[in-house]
Amino acid sequence: MKYEGRVWKFGDHVDTDVIIPARFLNVSDKDELAKHCFEDVRPEFVKEVAQGDILLAGVNFGCGSSREHAPLAIKSAGIGVVVARSFARIFYRSAFNIGLPILECEEAFDAFSDGEQISVDLRTGEIGSKVEGVRVFAKPIPDFMSRIIEAGGLVPYIKAKGTF
């Protein structure tokens, strides 16, 4: 699975209140949530993000609340894959569960700039720029998580297996 698109760069400790503020949590419709993704900190995001774009972040991405509305809003807004130095653990689980691909990578954040066109290969972990020729590699996804992804997310995984 390969994604190509524009880089949207965010910093360290991007929290779930910034991704989707609590005032929008009185609904759970993903398209409705997508309309308000990053609304307070980067209002142009929702208007300009294109299908398959790539979100680059620093450490502890998705910290804070357990609201699955956060990865849902990011996915529904069009982001294809999130690459961060590290993820908050609830966000990490939820992203896999809902089928939002995420990768951990130390170098990617400094290697690429906001607005740059890059590609991300989920299978090999290769992340590369279209113009500059820069390449970095993300950590491979753990086996157990791969099985959930291969099944198509947690719901089909449970449906197929009956339990864990």
Binding site: A22, S28, G64, S86, I90, S94, K159, T163
Partner: protein, 417 residues
């Protein structure tokens, strides 16, 4: 093994586990609220099960937008109510029968030492104070737990934090955890366990321990935990018919890191915007006038918190330049606070009392900040826009600093009164 590893091993049916192991565990209690349950219920239905794994082991609590603030939130609460009825969920709790999930679950004896609890709320880690393993997950994970009663976990490495010395008069669990977050940073315990120990923890009340475990997630931790002791035994006595299981860490248990904290000179702490680890002692807060003080939430809305605040506010008036909002964490606490005269004290000092709920903590309702406004809050997060407008500011502190701040109109220590 550590206490966390022992509880996880027991629930995985294994003799031993080690950090990094991926295990599958049985869940003693599954929790969701009015934000996370509607999504979890949808997942449960997609999985295609007729019944939840055990209607006695599910707690559904409407506490974020109740009493419902608008039609969409009323619809969300209704989804939960109808699901609870159709599934015969025993612990469906709202309004007069409840309050804030993490306050009422220990209070009503739904979590006991040795339990494994999965909750679709990040502050589910609160129950570690009882010597249980509890952690927050998203709605899809919780939906799968509703269907199967099981989930997967990666066994976390443990950071042991040992608190030594004697606490000063106005220093409590909130100050200990804020100070600890200042030391380790908001990603300092990412994917790990924080095990709180030492003679200081041994002398802390359960209310204070719950406050500390509550904020383990603010350090990125999977869970925060305290070994159960006599204080735990007394707290859980009479709350449940189930038998608690007291686990403790082996003397030769392996820790990733041991952190020692000497508390003798520790002052009340304040977290400045916009991160819970941006901590300073209150004497170094400087002149920070505030527009609103909030006392409440799953961090500091318990009986002891209200007593500490009332002790300071008794016979004093809040500053005319700010509004003080007090929200008891549960209906039971509200009633007890009335009986003790604490609510009267709050009202006479100039506070307004809200119905038990999570309202202002997450900018939900009943205490939203406008742009440029500043609040001092006993809650657990001060992210950008957490309590309202993205250009507002939230400072975090314990109930003693909150009460002193309400009187003086600026961030203040109770010593100044």
């Amino acid at each position: 093994m550590t206490i966390t590893e022992k509880i996880l091993a027991a629930h995985a049916g294994l003799g031993t586990v080690s950090p990094g192991d991926l295990i599958q565990v049985d869940v003693d209690l599954a929790l969701a609220n009015d934000i996370t349950a509607p999504l979890a219920i949808r997942v449960f239905e997609e999985i295609g099960r007729e019944r939840v794994f055990d209607p006695e082991k599910v707690a559904l609590v409407s506490d974020h937008f109740v009493p419902n603030k608008d039609i969409p939130s009323a619809r969300q609460a209704k989804i939960i109510r109808e699901f609870a009825r159709s599934q015969g969920i025993v612990h469906y709790l709202e309004l007069a029968y409840g309050g804030i999930e993490h306050v009422i679950l220990p209070e009503q004896g739904l979590v006991l030492p040795g339990d494994l609890v999965m909750g679709a709320d990040s502050h589910t880690c609160t129950y570690g104070a009882l010597g249980a393993f509890s952690t927050g997950v998203g709605s899809t994970d919780l939906g799968a737990v509703l269907a199967t009663g099981r989930t997967w976990l990666r066994v976390p490495p443990t950071i042991k934090v040992i608190y030594r010395g004697t606490l000063g008069k106005w220093v409590g669990g909130k100050d200990l955890i804020l100070y600890t977050l200042g030391r380790i940073g908001v990603e300092g315990a990412l994917y790990k366990t924080l095990e709180f120990s030492g003679e200081v923890i041994g002398s802390l009340s359960m209310d204070q321990r719950l406050t500390m475990a509550n904020m383990a997630v603010e350090g990125g931790a999977k869970n925060g935990i305290v070994e159960p002791d006599e204080i735990t035994r007394q707290y859980v006595a009479g709350r449940s018919e189930r038998e608690p299981i007291f686990y403790s860490s082996d003397r030769d248990a392996r820790y990733e890191r041991v952190l020692e904290v000497q508390v003798d000179d520790l002052e009340p702490q304040v977290a400045f915007p916009h991160s819970p680890d941006n901590v300073r002692p209150v004497s170094e807060a400087g002149d920070v006038p505030v527009d609103q003080v909030f006392i409440g939430s799953c961090t500091n809305g318990r009986m002891e918190d209200l007593r500490i605040a009332a002790d300071i506010l008794k016979g004093r008036r809040t500053s005319r330049n700010l509004r003080l909002i007090v929200i008891p964490g549960s209906t039971r606490i509200y009633r007890e606070a009335i009986e003790e005269g604490i609510i009267q004290t709050f009202l006479e000092s100039g506070a307004v009392i809200g119905p038990p709920c999570c309202g202002p903590c997450l900018g939900g309702h009943m205490g939203i900040l406008a742009e440029g406004e500043r609040a001092l809050s006993t809650t657990n997060r001060n992210f950008v826009g957490r309590m309202g407008h993205p250009e507002s500011e939230v400072y975090l502190a314990g109930p003693a600093v909150a009460a002193a701040t309400a009187v003086l109109g600026r961030i203040a220590s109770p010593e100044e009164l």
